[in-house]
Symmetry: C3
């Protein structure tokens, strides 16, 4: 079950998502150093605060994205490539969001929207997949 | 394995938990607009700050809840309905917490307690399930 | 598949990680009481702020750690004990980090490094495991 093309691709997307998370964490650390913001403070310099918000927002989205990616992967409908494909779009959206936000808080919208649409598509796909699996197996 | 009644119900509970997470995120966005709190600031208006704390606390609980829900689901004991049932109680508790906190910071306790008890029950259920699976299969 | 020694040990490590998360959350609650920091405020006393940063940092690491632990567990290479073993090292590192940070913000480095190395090892192990599974099964 875990060695289908779709599942292995979703595993690869999960690794990319973790790398994105690690990147946003290291960015916060770098900005702490650059602007001399001593832990535990989380305010003090706009560029540090943007990096901190990028990290927190990535974290917030990450924990919703990952369960949906795997529900859509493990209860596939239409094609096993759909879930990892949407996962890849999410990654691209979040990279654009991070780069945009660091350039200017107002430039975070495009990436945010792309990733948001991918999450909503995964949400719909998960619901359809669960309902479909229930109707096919009729477990009760 | 993923098409039992318990597993499909836990998948449905996971979708509900993600919807709760999305709701608390959108609430923060709405409060940003209502009170003119510009990103990356996370302070400035009590109602915004309550929405922000609701989101953060939901996130904190969500990441502990989800692994326990799935451990208890995949290593079932007594009944496969127990884990998703406790998951549903967690959702109800977190909705009450969110509504209570937004009304008044002091009104967040009831929902917090209900969700907390559900998490502790899932924790016990997970431990029992893992120990039970080990004793049954004796993998080493 | 979920009843191998490696999988059951990773399930046990997951329970320990959740307990660590619960501990850091309860620490914040205790510090709120001790220093009279009323919700939704998250500043006001250095010891409270350290506890809050311990919780947030644990949360940030937790959500990256858990997917890697399970990818490395479900796509094993070399030995099924490797992933849960690294998971246990991560737990130890994060406990040292928490105790160190609460004593003095400067004392958080050792535990942070130990846990960081465990996460990077799990990252490498996950990538190797996914590539290995792909090469063995050639799903497309």
């Amino acid at each position: 079950m875990l060695a289908t093309a779709g599942t292995l691709l979703s595993a690869a997307v999960t690794v990319l998502a973790v790398l994105l998370g690690l990147y946003t964490m290291m960015l916060v650390g770098r900005m702490r150093g650059k602007h001399g913001v001593q832990a535990p403070a989380v305010t003090g310099a706009p560029e540090f605060e943007r990096a901190f918000r990028v990290q927190m927002n990535t974290l917030e989205q990450f924990v919703l994205f990952l369960p949906l990616l795997w529900l859509a992967t493990l209860y596939p409908v239409v094609s096993g490539y759909l879930a990892p494909g949407l996962g890849l779009i999410w990654i691209i959206g979040r990279v654009l969001y991070s780069l945009g936000y660091m350039a200017d808080a107002a430039k975070r919208s495009t990436g945010f929207l792309i990733a948001g649409i991918a999450v909503l598509a995964l949400l719909v796909l998960s619901i359809v997949g669960i309902v479909h699996a229930w109707l096919v197996t009729r477990p009760v």
